[in-house]
């Protein structure tokens, strides 16, 4: 049995498609194709951070909280999504797909390794970074995918303004990284 996999790993097609990494430009082209296909078939471009807010709301409600009076969730669409639950939310399903798709890519390349957290610094970085991203994404109506990638592709000036702000933020983040988190 083992010999089959060893033989497969030496195959040139396996190497090109599954083993070796793609170039950044190949990635850019493929992601763009997927983005355009998504807009064409669903009427909306790609977005990642929106569903996270729903996930938070569902967990919050599971602990007895309620978001029904929050302005953010006041629209009919938002209420529908919340009531429908995870399995009915297309954005949530898509995000889950991203995780599994990345996992599949890693396994098929035989490159999966569980990487444990190494230090307290990493914990603080993950917590702080996550909070900043989550909060910032709500203010800008999206993240690097929604507000930036989809925003710019949609010919909205908001995308470019967001990009400029990201550049400033990345500068600040780089300084903090070098000083505290290395």
């Amino acid at each position: 049995m083992k010999k089959i996999w060893e033989k497969l790993e030496k195959n040139q097609y396996y190497a090109t498609i599954f083993k070796n990494p793609f170039t950044y430009v190949t990635g850019a082209v493929l992601l763009s194709v997927l983005q355009i296909a998504l807009l064409a078939s669903s009427g909306n471009p790609w977005g990642v951070s929106g569903p996270f807010t729903n996930w938070g709301a569902w967990i919050f409600e599971a602990f007895g909280g309620s978001v029904d009076k929050w302005f953010y969730f006041s629209s009919a669409g938002a209420q529908n999504t919340l009531n429908g639950g995870f399995l009915n939310d297309t954005g949530s399903i898509q995000n889950a797909g991203i995780i599994i798709g990345a996992l599949a890519a890693t396994l098929l390349a035989s490159q999966f390794k569980l990487k444990k957290i190494k230090s307290v610094k990493q914990v603080i970085a993950a917590v702080l970074g996550g909070l900043l991203m989550g909060y910032g994404a709500r203010l800008a109506f999206g993240c690097n995918i929604g507000a930036l990638f989809s925003g710019i592709a949609s010919l909205s000036l908001s995308g470019w303004v967001f990009a400029l702000a990201l550049l400033v933020g990345a500068f600040i983040g780089s300084k903090l990284l070098a000083k505290f988190f290395m």
Binding site: Y24, L39, N44, T90, L108, A140, G169
Partner: protein, 226 residues
């Protein structure tokens, strides 16, 4: 990549090769599960199955190309490298063409323009949001898509980051009313074709992308010497 001629002289101490058990069978098993989930979802709604497959596609491509928007904004500051920045710009250019084609096609036929939900008001909130997000993504070691990708790759640090991304999102939603009243409702949506016409908007966008691309190229040459 297996039996190359090694040209760099090394001492005998190579890392002991761990007995490799190929993970490909697990990968294939996962692909079968992915298909089964897709089929199950399609019984609920074809739409859900479609988003599942798109997610799988995005995740697969992101991981294989190690595509990271964080790196595109961070590397110019840390190492001077702009190779990912340029790839991101290429993505912007290609999607602009595709998106505009779809939108213009709808517009010209008198239909409502699709995909306008990311044409959002520009306000102080946009700037603050961007700065917060940019800082956070560099510290956390990944942006929104990058975090999801790395959760799939087995990085426990990004799993933690995801948890707090969710917390931060909920907090942002909680405060959203404040930001909406004080800043966002004073903002303006600027859809470039409304101001420059469809053709003008695309030309301007490509000019911006082109200028930044050249600037990125020069930046790398200056900072890295190549």
């Amino acid at each position: 990549m297996s039996e190359e001629v090694k040209s760099i002289q090394r001492s005998g101490t190579r890392a002991p090769r761990k007995p490799k058990k190929s993970q490909i069978p697990y990968g294939i098993a996962l692909v079968i599960i992915i298909i089964l989930i897709g089929v199950a979802l399609s019984y609920k709604s074809g739409n859900l199955a479609m988003f599942w497959i798109f997610g799988i596609g995005f995740g697969f491509v992101l991981q294989k190309s190690r595509f990271c928007f964080t790196a595109s904004f961070r590397d110019p500051w840390i190492t001077g490298s702009t190779s990912i920045t340029k790839a991101v710009l290429i993505a912007f250019a290609i999607t602009t063409i595709g998106f505009t084609a779809i939108k213009y096609g709808a517009f010209v036929n008198g239909l409502p323009i699709p995909g306008m939900n990311y044409v959002v008001p520009i306000s102080f909130a946009t700037v603050v949001g961007g700065i917060l997000f940019g800082t956070g993504m560099v510290i956390a070691g990944g942006c929104a898509s990058g975090t999801l990708m790395r959760v799939g790759e087995g990085f426990m640090m990004q799993m933690l980051a995801l948890v707090f991304f969710i917390v931060g999102s909920l907090l942002g939603a909680y405060h959203f009313g404040f930001w909406k009243i004080n800043f966002i409702s004073n903002g303006t949506k600027i859809f470039l074709p409304d101001y420059f016409g469809w053709f003008g908007a695309v030309v301007i966008q490509f000019l911006i992308i082109g200028c930044i691309y050249v600037a990125a190229d020069l930046w790398q040459k200056k900072k890295m010497g190549a």
